[in-house]
């Protein structure tokens, strides 16, 4: 825990941050977040219930491509509601009919099985049967985690920062050779960008997909194909190449579960991104968030939060403190869900207008503040996008400064900036030039951090303290107003999102007494059976 005796290279000392202020910021974040957590605990969603079925092994889709998990949850909801969860009615039906889960789902879709909420002994038996099946899925997640640990032990971890590169062809079979090539060129982390519309789909598509839109659909089959391909490349290169996707949007609990099953290593997973940038209902988001983070915690997945997005809509200097506030909230929600510091790829970005004086010093101040507040988190540092103008030469220089700021402030996950940002999806040469940029900066100045000691009363330290103070003030206001009201008022990213509006609201259900979710139980107990 934080003590005042920081070592000389500790950014808290360099920035002369007051430990009392830091503690206050954390305790305000807890106060702001706690009511949201209890609200999340009182509700479930269609996607949480579908995730339970996925963990129990229900895969596949009907002829129209609607997944069986959707079919089954919809029928159960129509017949008996979801207030008790999907597990009790479904396993009651399984025990009564003697059919397996898939058959019950198919019969439900055809209308040839009826559901009830079991009571008394029937309820106990259904609950036990459900738990036994869901536990198999949880044990598969545990096994995936062990496999990852073994591979990392065998190959070793790359030094920080991890080089993070993106592929986005829309076709999983095109993504695979691109991802393997990117890994050979030096990527430590491959992110497969998702098809743009997917976050608003209320189902997870099935099977390998070749028709994406500015990205590739996240499906269980695509996850498995890409992970297998990168395992091959990891063996070839002798280093473990991590795979990233997105647990966001309307299906985040299900996608998190699939990621755990198929051994993805990082997931983009922000507590508020869906609300602000996709207009997904806040309650839906927070309920789905909590479940998905519990899965990530169990699966040993590193989450990447989305604070960089605020700075693409709001001004990066004026809104710097909203990034800090969001990081603190993301940290609170993550820890509450069981994630550890090493799993928190908290986000921030290099988006200050290059024309303003001292823009680089301001960037350093913000990046160091994040490093100082979250010393044990990897931190995900995002390159400039808003001020990439199409002048690729200037963009290349800007990316160089971005890399330098990352080197000086010890960022853990470095998303490689492309000079053709805002012009084209990266060409092979863009990626190669971008990696040369990273290598030059880290080779030339990677150890400059040892000599870099901003003066505690200098510009950088003062700016960092100012941003922290503004963050504390904003957290104070949020605690007074409640977080849901602050979100409704446009506090983050200037987007106004009331709690009773937004997409996916119809998929939120208030739990009743006797609600059962064996997945949540197993996750919260840390149990395997």
């Amino acid at each position: 825990m934080s003590r005042t005796a920081y070592t000389g290279s500790d950014p808290r000392r360099m920035l002369d941050l007051d430990p009392v202020t830091i503690r206050k910021a954390r305790s305000l974040a807890r106060k702001a977040g706690a009511p949201v957590v209890s609200m999340a605990k009182r509700h479930t969603t269609v996607s949480v219930e579908r995730a339970v079925l996925r963990l129990a092994g229900l895969e596949g889709a009907d002829v129209e491509g609607i997944p069986w998990v959707n079919r089954l949850v919809d029928v159960v909801r129509d017949e008996v509601g979801l207030e008790h969860g999907v597990a009790l009615p479904v396993w009651d039906a399984i025990l009564r009919t003697g059919d397996d889960l898939t058959t019950v789902a198919q019969k439900a879709a055809a209308g040839s099985v009826t559901f009830r909420v079991p009571e008394g002994r029937d309820s106990v038996r259904a609950g036990k049967a459900a738990r036994a099946r869901v536990a198999q899925g949880i044990r598969r997640i545990d096994a995936s985690r062990r496999t990852r640990d073994n591979l990392i032990a065998k190959y070793g971890d790359p030094p920080a920062p991890w080089i993070y590169l993106i592929v986005a062809t829309g076709d999983i079979y095109e993504d695979i050779p691109q991802a393997q090539a990117a890994a050979r060129e030096g990527a430590d982390v491959i992110a497969v960008i998702r098809s743009t519309g997917q976050s608003l789909l209320d189902y997870v598509p099935e099977g390998p997909t070749r028709e994406g839109y500015a990205g590739t659909y996240a499906t269980q089959a695509n996850f498995a194909l890409m992970r297998a391909a990168l395992d091959e490349t990891s063996a070839e290169l002798g280093r473990y190449v991590r795979l990233t996707n997105y647990a966001s949007g309307l299906c985040m609990p299900e996608i998190a579960s699939l990621a755990g099953l198929e051994r993805l290593d990082m997931m983009l997973n922000d507590s508020m991104y869906g609300i602000l940038f996709r207009d997904i209902n806040p309650v839906r988001t927070f309920v789905d968030q909590r479940f998905s983070r519990q899965i990530h915690a169990r699966a040993g997945i590193i989450i990447n939060t989305g604070e960089d997005n605020y700075l693409t809509t709001a001004d990066a200097v004026d809104a710097a403190h909203t990034v800090t506030v969001s990081q603190l909230l993301n940290e609170y929600f993550a820890k509450e869900a069981g994630l550890e510091d090493w799993q928190l790829g908290l986000g921030h970005a290099f988006e200050i207008t290059p024309e303003i004086p001292d823009s680089f010093r301001l960037e350093l101040a913000h990046a160091m503040l994040a490093r100082a507040l979250f010393p044990d988190a990897p931190l995900k540092w995002m390159p400039p996008t808003k001020h990439m103008t199409g002048d690729v030469f200037r963009g290349y220089l800007l990316d160089g400064f971005f890399n330098l700021a990352g080197a000086l402030t010890g960022q853990g996950i470095l998303l490689v900036g492309m000079m053709t940002e805002a012009v084209v999806t990266p060409w092979i040469s863009d990626r190669d030039l971008a990696l040369q940029n990273v290598r030059y900066v880290f080779n030339a100045a990677g150890n400059l951090r040892e000599d870099f000691r901003p003066s505690p009363d200098g510009f950088i330290a003062q700016r960092a303290r100012q941003v922290l103070a503004e963050a504390v003030d904003l957290l104070d206001d949020i605690v007074d107003d409640t977080l849901l009201v602050a979100i409704a008022d446009g506090t983050f990213g200037l987007m106004k999102r009331p709690a009773d509006a937004g997409r996916g609201l119809e998929g939120v259900v208030r739990k009743t007494d006797g609600y059962l979710n064996p997945a949540t139980d197993l996750l919260e107990e840390g149990a395997t059976r």
């Binding site: 207009d279 060409w427 092979i428």
Partner: protein, 254 residues
């Protein structure tokens, strides 16, 4: 710049030298033959003499080239076709005054990113008070009512919102251009408005984005296209000229 000069060639450091720089990748291993291929390509593109100033292997199967050379081509600026600004640039004050006088009610603008495009940068730059390039966005104009629907708005929703708010103009921003999505989306949008509104009541349709060709209005079925670097003041001035009676002779296209 001389006012009479209409024939121009690229300028490196001497008038008429025709110098250009170019970079590209060939799917060839880096060797002498690959460099020869790069040179040949440059020659076919009209660069003569061309110099391969940089060649670098990117893995075993690709080579990246930077080529400098003099092009044989020239341009007669009299042949260039562009959309010239055909409306007067007004200050926010003048815009407000013109609307007040000519329309006697606030001008209603509904804006959105349509399709799966989640990039609100463009529409926000034009609509948000914050604005762009030192100019305040349309929300700042007291006589303009702005309804910003944000990202990933479906075309039917946009039509319905435009109807509901009695929009005078609909502003659509499209940043994602993969597989020409911006063009498909825009055509779908303009067709939907033509179907839903009688010609006389259809709101003015304006699209903007960094990859649009400003000449394609007819093809895309919209009234105006704004390209890269458009400022809120330009959009506001255009809206006044197109929508406010007596402020201009230019009538709303139908």
């Amino acid at each position: 710049m001389s006012k009479s000069k209409t024939i121009v060639r690229p300028y490196g450091d001497t008038t008429g030298d025709g110098m250009v720089q170019m970079s590209f990748t060939l799917p060839l291993a880096h060797d002498k033959r690959a460099e020869g291929a790069a040179l040949l390509l440059a020659k076919q593109m009209g660069m003569d003499p061309a110099m391969v100033v940089h060649a670098k292997a990117m893995g075993p199967h690709f080579t990246f080239f930077v080529v400098y050379g003099s092009v044989q081509h020239f341009v007669d600026t009299r042949d260039v076709v562009v959309v010239e600004r055909d409306y007067a640039l007004l200050s926010p004050k003048e815009v407000n005054a013109a609307i007040k006088k000519g329309l006697r009610r606030p001008l209603v603008v509904v804006g959105a990113c349509i399709g799966t495009d989640a990039h609100t940068v463009g529409i926000d730059a034009i609509l948000n008070i914050k604005g762009f390039a030192g100019e305040k966005g349309l929300e700042y104009y007291s006589e303009i009512t702005v309804v910003n629907l944000g990202a990933q708005v479906s075309v039917p929703d946009l039509v319905e919102q435009a109807w509901h708010h009695k929009a005078d103009a609909v502003l659509v921003s499209q940043v994602v251009t993969q597989k020409d999505a911006h063009l498909h989306n825009t055509r779908e949008m303009s067709a939907a408005f033509r179907e839903a509104f009688p010609a006389a009541r259809r709101p003015l349709l304006v699209v903007g984005g960094p990859r649009f060709d400003e000449l394609m209005t007819t093809e895309l079925g919209v009234d105006r296209i704004f390209g890269k670097g458009t400022t809120p003041g330009e959009v506001a001035s255009y809206l006044v000229s197109a929508l406010v009676p007596s402020s201009s002779t230019r009538k709303k296209a139908s």
